[in-house]
């Protein structure tokens, strides 16, 4: 079978109808991972035994129950920043090279309860700091569309896994675009949820007031299915919100006729590649043909988004990274002769360059005498950007723009220029600043590389985002074009 074409709903139907068993499917994925992972470097850990055991359990369950949950027996990949009980979790950093957590993240716990088959843990930028996976302590992941290109990041491994057909779906995390941007660059669907919609418990924190877990899938329908499974109040995360979780799939087929969509004028500004602009223009036509009313608007305050983001996020990072001190877990320096050296040497030896860079940025922004000028000011910008979005959503159902200003770039081309790399998030990070939901769906190709369309919705209105994305997807062919993998 061609694994690249499998979706959650197709796999569910096939398992339920006994076309193939979960074990058979899982084994095929494991075989393909063996074949292709060497060149693509998608998985850092492959959990063959767990996967087969979980698949068996689902198959056995199916013998007794004719109806199993839609996610039961469906093989998935988990970003290695999400804590999995008894399965090595590195956050793609050398400091956690041998960390085996004694507890489970709420996200994986909820998916396990639905019968998830976990294939393994996927590569990302170390601690999710980056937009290319080049900051991983375990080497870059290659883009399945062109192995000389980055897959985007930080959830590059998760996006590449789905694009390459090495998982039916995957889980990523999004702090400034880390689900959507790699989804765009790998030609798959990536959904960033409203902050507070799904639990952060067990997500190794990058920036706690921005981080969200979310699905990377083949189709919008699959994204809706996974979103529903991982969402909802969690007593272990005090920032989750007690709102009912709708059955998102129910609303997918509703018409988007009359939906008011704002097209961000900045989509056609400097720094946006020509091919990306063309794809966005064509997407607008598709949406209009479906009856949506598209109006171009400008949100000038968003230009301060990146600046505010790169003060607030490193501030939280510098704080969240304090616990990695070599005392209780992770790399412990054997050169240390004092407690002070134990902490500084362990960090110095094992943390990656970008991690150190962000710790320094954050400590600077939070230090006394600078706090007001940096952190506090950026927090005010955050409020302004939030309000800007709120005002826009008084008039519109959704906002559209490119997910990324460029298609996948060459490995190494930006790694010495952190500022250029930070601009990869220019359309995605304002969404995290506001904490609202947004999806990236495939919307064309430029230079034989996928382009993503970002659809942004208002807080806790994932439903509308899915609805528009689904309508667009079902009236285009982009999600049915797959990369060719070279079997060496």
């Amino acid at each position: 079978m061609d694994l690249k074409t499998q979706t959650i709903s197709s796999v569910h139907k096939a398992i339920q109808d006994k076309e193939f068993s979960s074990v058979e499917l899982t084994q095929e994925y494991l075989d393909d991972i063996k074949k292709f992972n060497k060149d693509l470097n998608i998985y850092l850990t492959v959990t063959e035994n767990e996967a087969i055991a979980q698949a068996k359990e689902v198959d056995e369950n199916l013998r007794e129950n004719s109806n199993i949950p839609v996610l039961a027996g469906v093989p998935a990949a988990i970003k290695d920043i999400i804590v999995t009980k008894d399965i090595r979790t590195t956050a793609s950093s050398k400091i956690l090279e041998n960390f085996i957590p004694p507890y489970e993240s709420t996200t994986t716990d909820r998916l396990k309860k639905q019968g998830m088959v976990i294939l393994g843990k996927t590569n990302c930028d170390a601690f999710a700091f980056g937009a290319s996976t080049e900051n991983s302590g375990y080497g870059v992941t290659h883009n399945p569309w062109n192995i000389n290109k980055v897959p985007g990041g930080s959830s590059g491994g998760s996006a590449a896994a789905v694009a390459a057909g090495l998982a039916t779906y995957s889980i990523g995390t999004d702090t400034g675009g880390s689900i959507r941007q790699p989804a765009a660059l790998c030609g798959v669907v990536g959904m960033k949820l409203t902050y507070g919609r799904a639990s952060r418990f067990g997500l190794i924190a990058m920036a706690s007031s921005f981080d969200t877990p979310g699905p990377i899938t083949k189709t919008v329908e699959d994204a809706a299915i996974v979103t529903q499974a991982i969402s909802g109040l969690d007593p272990k995360d005090a920032t989750t919100v007690d709102l009912p979780v709708p059955d998102y799939t129910k609303f997918l087929n509703q018409s988007i006729k009359g939906k008011k969509i704002a097209l961000l004028g900045e989509s056609f500004g400097d720094g946006v590649e020509h091919g990306v602009k063309t794809s966005i223009e064509q997407s607008v036509k598709v949406l209009e043909q479906l009856g949506a009313v598209v109006t171009t608007i400008s949100l000038p305050e968003l230009q301060y988004g990146i600046a505010a983001y790169y003060i607030l996020v490193p501030s939280e990072i510098s704080s969240n990274m304090s616990r990695f001190d070599g005392v209780r877990f992770g790399h412990q320096s054997d050169k240390a002769k004092s407690l002070f050296e134990l902490q500084t040497f362990s960090r110095g030896e094992a943390l990656e360059d970008e991690v150190k860079r962000r710790i320094m940025l954050g400590n600077y922004a939070l230090s006394s005498g600078y706090y007001d000028a940096y952190y506090l000011k950026a927090a005010k910008v955050r409020t302004v950007i939030k309000q800007e979005f709120e005002k826009t959503f008084e008039k519109f159902d959704a906002i559209i723009c490119p997910t990324s200003p460029t298609v996948a770039f060459d490995i190494g081309s930006k790694s010495d220029d952190p500022l250029a790399m930070y601009l990869a998030d220019i359309f995605t990070c304002p969404v995290n600043i506001a904490g609202i939901p947004a999806i990236s769906v495939p919307c064309g190709f430029s230079e034989k590389l996928p382009v993503g369309l970002q659809i942004i919705g208002k807080a806790f209105d994932e439903r509308t985002v899915f609805q528009i994305a689904h309508a667009y997807e079902q009236n285009t062919q982009w999600h049915t074009i797959y990369p060719e993998l070279e079997d060496k």
């Binding site: 999400i82 804590v83 979790t89 956050a91 956690l96 960390f99 957590p101 004694p102 507890y103 993240s105 952060r200 418990f201 067990g202 997500l203 190794i204 924190a205 920036a207 706690s208 007031s209 007593p235 272990k236 995360d237 005090a238 920032t239 501030s315 939280e316 510098s318 704080s319 990274m321 304090s322 616990r323 990695f324 001190d325 005392v327 209780r328 877990f329 407690l339 002070f340 134990l342 902490q343 400590n363 939070l366 230090s367 006394s368 706090y371 952190y375």
Partner: protein
Amino acid sequence: MSKYTPIIGLEVHVELNTKTKMFCSCSAEHFNVPPNTHTCPTCLGLPGALPTVNKKASEYCLKIGLALGCSLLDNAVFARKHYAYPDLAKGYQLTQYELPFCVNGQIKIGDRDIRIKRVHMEEDTGKLQHGNHQGKSASFVDFNRSGVPLVEIVTEADFRSAEEVEEYARKLQQLMRYLGVSSADMDKGSMRFEANISLIQTEDDISNKILDDSQLPKYKIEVKNLNSFKALAGSVKHEVKSQAEILDSGKLPPQETKGWDDIKQQTYSQREKEEAHDYRYFPDPDISPMNWMTKEESRLKSELPELPWDKKSRYMTDLGLSEYDASLLIEDKNLAKYFELGISDCHSELSEESQTPESKKQIAKKLTNWINGELARLRNETSTDISDVKIKPSQILQIISLVDSQKISGTNAKLVFESIFTNGGDVDTIVKEKGLEQIQDTAAVETAVKNVLEAQPKAVADYRAGKETVIMFLIGMVMKELKGKGNTEEIKEIIKKII
């Protein structure tokens, strides 16, 4: 008179006695518990673990604030205070910084109001222990205490003497126990002090004056980790003396952090690696700002018990007790409870008309005399906690009434009291069994007096010669003859009559 006035502010940490920790559901018990058994990913600071707020601990903090006359803020925020130390699991402590639970209270010390700046909630750290591991010296960290709820109570620099500081500390300890929020046991580290001490040189007497920040001295010395009233008062006294000497020599004492040496009875400089801490405070993004407090203020207030100082003034005004007696009774809330049980028992027994304020005061005074006299003596001798005392307040009332109606003598009343204190039992039975009823038969008393006078001619002669105190000896001898069952007043009258 010293030309310097001490300016002292106090920070007190109180460990709450909640069942669970501040931000996770681990047991908060950490005294005499095997190391690292009360821990979880959250209090170990493992990657991806998150805090959730202990509502009960928060309410305890609010109650302390309300008892100290503080205002509650509409919006309170937990902040992260960063510093690196192996016993600090997350590399930051969760505490309240700009927006604490409670602000601007006061407490009466002597006849002055000491201002309470803030009362806020935070978490304790783990504990570092040094020892040996495989033959090498090693450090161990126990995280059982990590995340245990702590309340910090901060005063303005309003204290002017070690005595005031100590009175405040004792009052706070008493308050914690009245509120039932902490054992406030200093030997277990449940209550710890930090004092900020400096001296001001001024012509005026400012011992009763509140100073604003601009009037405070240009330096201050912080003494940390004071774990007893003695260490607290001692360190203040020692600092006052040594700072005065430095100032006398024309220098300014250097701004520093000190510790207290219990053996040498002096403070010492604590050299710290990092000169100035920059804690890089910012609001904790894992816990949303809290805004439920003022909504629950009236409920929390209604749940406060009568506070020790209110109780004391009630005892003095309503029950006519002296300040000394009232202070002794309120020292321990269970003793006050014991006393009040007696008061309410006698109210239910007394008839309506006899319940005049005066009779109430008389009973209260007699009951107090027993509690602060015999009971205190016996409890002290036998180290008995008030909750383990066998004699009931109603039994003390019974004894009082037997003495008042002259059914037993004061001496025998003490025997009855001690017997019940030691072995339990009821008053009437013991009086009967031991034959302690006072003799009502005057002829029998007269016979006894005559016998004694005959046997003691010298004493009789001395008395007649004007040595009147001898009568006490004679009364004693008669009592002995009557086996303690006589009435001293009656005996005295008969002796006087016969001689």
